[in-house]
């Protein structure tokens, strides 16, 4: 049996890596990917605790999170595409206008 703490470690590690990605990368697409990593970290936590307490509700939450990730990816990438079409860039620090 793997202790629950290890799952939390894994989760925190992924979260940290995700945050590092979000903070340091300039490419918005990779930032979005890092957000996916963070969501994954959350999912691991949820499922691990779901297992711990012997209920599937954590898994249900994880499913909803994945749904949310799908919606977020669709809209986020849609924004990136719209932005790229106008500004020819996907770099976060060049996305400095509020309106186009």
């Amino acid at each position: 049996m793997v202790p629950i703490g290890h799952y939390i470690f894994l989760s925190v590690a992924l979260l940290a890596i995700g945050i590092v990605g979000v903070v340091t990368r300039r490419n918005v697409i990779i930032i979005l990917m890092s957000i996916e990593l963070i969501l994954n970290a959350v999912n691991i936590n949820l499922v691990a605790f779901s297992r711990l307490v012997g209920s599937v509700e954590g898994q249900i939450f994880a499913i909803f999170i994945i749904t949310d990730a799908a919606a977020e990816a669709a809209v986020g990438l849609g924004i990136i595409i719209a932005f790229f079409r106008n500004r020819e860039t996907v770099l976060a620090d060049e996305m400095d206008i509020l309106k186009w």
């Binding site: 749904t67 799908a70 919606a71 990816a73 990438l77 849609g78 595409i81 079409r85």
Partner: protein, 126 residues
């Protein structure tokens, strides 16, 4: 539960290893490759390619991918419903009317979206 997946894991490793090993192995068996010059260029009907191929393609591809993701999520939600609708596991089966109602609302909202897409022409390729 994990035990059921062990054969699959082994199978996956085998399935991955077989082509990989063959690829590597036959590298040493087949005659040396002496591909030089134009042979190493990407195929462009015999004309030097103009510009990087990793170029831009129609945004339609993206719209299709979005629609796929959305509909994929919807389908994934329908799978457990379909199972529950007529499962043989004790005590899990949905009451038909309730099951039908819950999914009809779900699919209804989806259909609204679909109709919107249709009207907007987002389902047209060109």
């Amino acid at each position: 539960m994990l035990r059921q997946y062990v054969p699959i894991l082994i199978f996956a490793v085998l399935a991955m290893a077989f082509p990989a090993v063959t690829l590597v192995l036959f590298k040493y068996i087949r005659p040396d490759s002496r591909a030089i010059g134009a042979k190493l260029k990407p195929y462009e009907c015999g004309i030097p390619p103009e510009g990087d191929a990793r170029g831009r393609y129609s945004v339609r591809f993206y719209i299709v991918a979005i629609l796929f993701v959305i509909f994929d999520v919807e389908t994934i939600f329908l799978f457990p419903w379909a199972v529950l609708f007529s499962t043989r596991e004790e005590g899990y089966r949905l009451t038909p009317i309730y099951g039908l109602a819950s999914v009809f609302v779900f699919l209804g909202i989806l259909i609204i979206g679909y109709v919107w897409l249709y009207r907007k022409g987002a389902l047209e390729w060109v």
